[in-house]
């Protein structure tokens, strides 16, 4: 062990110096991926044959002249499998120049909070995360920018995913009116079931905010709230201070669409609040609207199992196209109903699936479950009884579970995940 550490310390200290031409010929600002970086090192290697540069190394420090970032000379580039760290020359306005060069491409940026003596800036986008650390020899104040500074730019290149599921944000349409209907509740000593458009979206909950857009498929909607005593310490009746109040709000403009006045809760019988409300969404999803009524489907249980089984097989087989087909409609509709053009939700969900593929080696589907029919039998939700969830993925010290709303598109004989 000692020897290996000794070796690593030595290797980390190997620095390659060269006296190539001074022309700015290796531009790191053009690099957009880890593979591009490898290509650039290979080019540097080819053009500097006398130098000992290894384009296959996972920890390479290069100090060849001619390296730059958008015209700002780079004195040293450290290239690893995880990040690229570029250090400018010292004492030559380099930090200031580098900040200006990055801002020219990525927009103006504010300082990130930093407790150290240096200034830090951060940029995040779909292909890379950048952090710029500026070391000011004369102290921290921005006015000290000048000839006594240098900067370290760290770039983490993110993998590029071509699968549509990871690129949903590119398909999202934006509108002038992007209503986001939300139910806000305030209450004391009670729990409630919330049913929107005949879909039970939660049961015995005491959360205070619910996104409704995902359950709206047309301009006319209904909501039913069943408020029940919180059965704490065996109590069956409402506490004398118990109350409930709620409002449906359009978060886009804070407009109150419908409100339930503050109501004192008495007795032990659940109290039902019910109202209709109109929504004006610029986009109504197809969702389960053309779905078949599943209430009399004798093979429904088998179909539920078959769907989760297909999902399990696709995950373990790392069948990206199959996973895309299983989740795309759900994810697209939900992100569109959020009018969210940010790259992160789709990317992070896709990366969750990739990590399940990486760490899990088996899946288990519940065989015993209750089926709940919503929206006139077009939408179902299942509650596993023999397992914690409908599908469990298992790896060594890893587990991941899924439970979804399902429907059966017209003309199809298979269920689909829709929420």
């Amino acid at each position: 062990m000692k020897n290996v550490i000794f070796y690593i310390v030595l290797l980390a200290s190997i620095s390659i110096t060269s006296c190539g031409k001074d022309a700015l010929k290796y531009d790191f600002s053009k690099i957009k991926s880890h593979a591009d970086t490898k290509g650039l090192i290979a080019k540097i290697q080819l053009e500097n044959e006398d130098e000992d540069i290894d384009s296959t190394s996972s920890f390479e420090q290069i100090t060849i002249k001619g390296m730059h970032y958008a015209g700002v000379p780079i004195k040293e580039a450290l290239i690893t499998d995880n990040y690229t760290l570029l250090t400018t020359d010292t004492l030559n306005f380099s930090a200031k120049n580098l900040l200006e060069a990055i801002e020219a491409n990525n927009g103006l940026i504010n300082l990130t909070d930093s407790y150290s003596d240096r200034l830090e800036f951060g940029w995040k986008d779909e292909t890379e995360d950048k952090t710029l650390k500026i070391n000011l020899v004369n102290g921290k104040h921005l006015a000290a920018f000048g000839d006594k500074d240098y900067a370290e730019l760290t770039i983490n290149y993110k993998p590029i995913y071509t699968i549509p599921l990871a690129n949903i944000h590119k398909e999202i349409k934006t509108f002038d009116n992007q209503a986001k209907y939300v139910l806000n509740t305030r209450s004391y000593d009670c729990v409630y079931d919330i049913i929107v458009n005949d879909i039970i979206i939660t049961e015995s909950s005491n959360e205070t905010e619910f996104n409704l857009n995902n359950y709206i498929v047309g301009p006319d909607s209904s909501i039913k709230i069943i408020v029940k005593p919180r059965q704490k310490d065996g109590a069956k009746a409402f506490n004398e201070q118990a109350y409930f109040t709620a409002a449906i709000v359009n978060n886009e403009n804070e407009e109150i669409i419908e409100a339930i006045e503050k109501t004192a809760l008495k007795g032990s019988t659940p109290i039902v609040f019910q109202t209709d409300f109109n929504s004006t969404l610029p986009y109504y999803p197809k969702a389960w609207t053309d779905g078949a009524d599943l209430r009399n489907d004798e093979r429904l249980k088998d179909k539920v199992i078959a769907l989760y089984d297909k999902l399990g097989k696709a995950m373990l087989a790392k069948d990206e196209q199959a996973l895309n087909d299983i989740f795309y409609q759900k994810d697209f509709e939900m992100q569109q109903l959020d009018f969210d053009t940010n790259f992160e939700p789709a990317r992070s969900e896709w990366e969750t699936y990739l990590s399940v593929q990486l760490y899990c080696y088996k899946y288990t589907v519940a065989n015993d479950f209750d089926i709940e029919f919503n929206s006139g039998g077009k939408l179902i939700y299942t509650y596993a009884k023999d397992k914690s969830d409908m599908i469990i993925f298992t790896g060594k010290g890893h587990d991941f579970t899924l439970n979804h709303y399902l429907y059966q598109p017209k003309g199809s004989n298979e269920l689909k995940i829709i929420r």
Binding site: M1, N3, L10, L11, I14, T364, D399
Partner: protein, 579 residues
């Protein structure tokens, strides 16, 4: 790869620490003999793949010895304390080894041991004061198969940071080790400065060659023993903080040529190997032995040792402290195997380059599974690596992969498996991977050799090796510690009692607070005040105190019971400590 890195470091040790001829150099001979079990083809391959690495390493050395001499401005100078012998920690150091464990792993037919202090926050021995040095000398190795080894073990390293080689591949139960402390009682001080650059000392000479800025270079005759401390002083006589140093048998400026020469030597060896000049390993070893002495470098005959020091300040003189008289203190302790070999294990896994070999307690290979690596035994026949759990199927002589969330092997041989996820129940299996017992448990706990299964309704059961479950009436909480054969347990009314290591309640639930037993007694609270009780619950003494502090330790790591913010204290025997 590892072997060649070893070769480089071994040779570096030889060149920097030893002036004798390599022919009779024991370290080199030992290194050469390590090649015994390698074929000439393997050596050739390693040499080819690694000469390039050495080239990089020698590049590093070229740079590292070219420190620049600087003149340090006054306000940037850093100082340190003048040398004085500090023996304050000695007593504590001698008593720090009451619970030392080691982790034994097996690789390529050799045991690897790493030691840990199990009795305090730090896993390493305490830092010693100036002028105090320590040594660990292994005396006896108790192997699990009954063998007790005492010969040729004194040089095995008791290392608290790294794995070290400890000879034959056989499970060790425990090791007796002598801990030796040596501290300087009396010392000589020798000062050299530009005014007085040469001093004669004990028949040799100490000579200041150069002092410039933060750099000083001086030499000592090889006949003079190493000083215990060297400190640099600035013009006002302040002790400067050291920033770097280099000690060498050869004069500065010659290092680069040494590495060039070494590299040349390796390349020559590589060429000869590739030309198939050696018929077998023995021939190669012979060549290595004879030719190392031809390297100019080993002929360091100038009789002096060169020291270069760099400081955070401008150094004008150097004081060298030489030991004159010293004293030894010794203590003996036993280190135990952290994961001892159990009868239920009876085979253990060893990694070799291309396989995992399962050996019995005598170290004899029983089953070899090619291609697997990184296996770690989790108990009995169960193993894991980074990605999977495995069951060693002895009948079929193969590893069965267990596609489950978790596998826990308990001391009594029972195995608890979470088949799918973290928040489900453990199902029980025998050491042969057969389901056993009818109950499943949402939590399994082990205290000493007792295995507890806790069910959904918060009931505690003791499980024997056949998964027979005995309900522990009234128990709602069990402490993690078994101490003096007693475990703290509580009931639904938060009253505390004690159970023994067989699971029998020996002191009923009656205390509102209690500490673990130690040295046969403990303090418990009932009827308002803390009382000392013995292992049977008999009250020895009522302290009349109603407020106990956190437990403390004395210099000898024995417990102190302290009450009412330290106003009254009792020692580990329950005797009042007089202020």
């Amino acid at each position: 790869m590892k072997k060649l890195i070893y070769l480089i470091t071994a040779l570096l040790t030889v060149i920097s620490c030893d002036n004798s001829q390599p022919n009779d150099n024991p370290e080199l001979n030992e290194f050469i003999s390590k090649l015994d079990d390698k074929s000439i083809e393997e050596i050739k391959e390693e040499m080819n793949s690694n000469v390039k690495q050495f080239e990089s390493i020698s590049k590093f050395f070229e740079n590292s010895f070219s420190n620049e001499i600087e003149v340090i401005v006054k306000e940037d100078e850093k100082y340190e304390e003048a040398f004085k012998i500090d023996t304050t920690g000695i007593s504590k150091a001698l008593y720090q080894f009451n619970d030392i464990v080691f982790v034994q792993t097996f690789e390529d037919y050799e045991s690897q041991l790493e030691f840990t202090k199990n009795n305090s926050d730090s896993s390493k021995p305490i830092n010693l004061g100036e002028g105090v040095s320590q040594k660990f000398i292994p005396n006896k190795i108790y192997y699990h198969d009954g063998e007790i080894r005492t010969d040729s073990i004194a040089d095995y390293e008791v290392d608290f940071t790294f794995d070290e080689a400890w000879g034959k591949v056989k499970p060790i139960d425990s090791i007796d080790i002598t801990y030796n402390l040596n501290y300087v009682k009396d010392y000589d001080v020798v000062e050299v400065s530009l005014d007085k650059p040469k001093v004669t000392f004990k028949g040799g000479e100490i000579t200041l060659v150069k002092a410039e800025g933060n750099y000083i270079y001086f030499t000592l005759s090889d006949t003079i023993d190493s000083p215990v401390r060297i400190q640099g002083y600035n013009a006002e006589g302040k002790v400067l903080d050291r920033s770097g140093y280099s000690n060498n048998g050869i004069a500065p400026g010659e290092m680069k040529s040494v590495f060039t020469e070494m590299l040349g030597y390796f390349k020559k060896l590589q060429e000869k190997l590739n030309d198939d000049d050696f018929e077998n390993t023995a021939e190669f070893q012979e060549y290595l032995k004879n030719n190392l002495s031809n390297l100019d470098f080993f002929n360091d005959n100038d009789g002096i040792f060169h020291r270069q020091y760099y400081y955070h300040g401008n150094v004008k003189s150097i004081k060298l402290y030489f030991e004159n008289d010293s004293e030894n203190r010794e203590t003996l302790f036993t280190a135990r195997n952290y994961k001892p070999f159990k009868e239920t294990d009876d085979l253990f896994a060893m990694e070799t380059e291309d396989a995992t070999v399962f050996l019995n307690s005598k170290g004899e290979p029983q089953i070899t599974i090619k291609g697997s690596d990184g296996l770690e035994n989790t108990g009995g026949n169960f193993y894991e690596d980074y990605n999977y759990f495995y069951y060693l199927n002895r009948a079929e002589k193969r590893l069965d992969t267990l596609l489950v969330y978790d596998v826990k092997v308990f001391n009594n041989g029972l195995v608890g498996i979470l088949p799918e996820q973290e928040n489900e129940h453990y199902t029980l299996f025998t050491s042969d991977n057969k389901p056993i017992g009818s109950k499943s448990y949402w939590l399994m706990r082990e205290v000493g050799d007792l295995l507890f299964g806790i069910t959904d309704d918060d009931k505690y059961y003791i499980l024997d090796e056949n998964a027979n479950a005995t309900l522990l009436t009234g128990v709602t909480k069990i402490s993690d510690n078994l101490s003096d054969d007693r475990i703290i347990v509580s009931n639904a009314n938060s009253k505390i009692g004690f159970m023994n290591s067989k699971g029998k309640m020996v002191i009923p639930f009656k205390y509102s607070d209690a500490e673990d037993f130690e040295d046969g007694i403990t303090a418990v609270q009932f009827n308002g005040t803390y009382k000392f009780i013995d292992l049977n619950g008999k009250v020895l003494f009522d302290t009349k105190e109603d407020d106990i502090d956190f437990l403390k330790k004395d210099d000898q790591e024995k417990r102190i019971y302290s009450f009412d913010y330290g106003k009254t204290s009792y020692n580990y025997k329950g005797e009042l400590i007089k202020k």
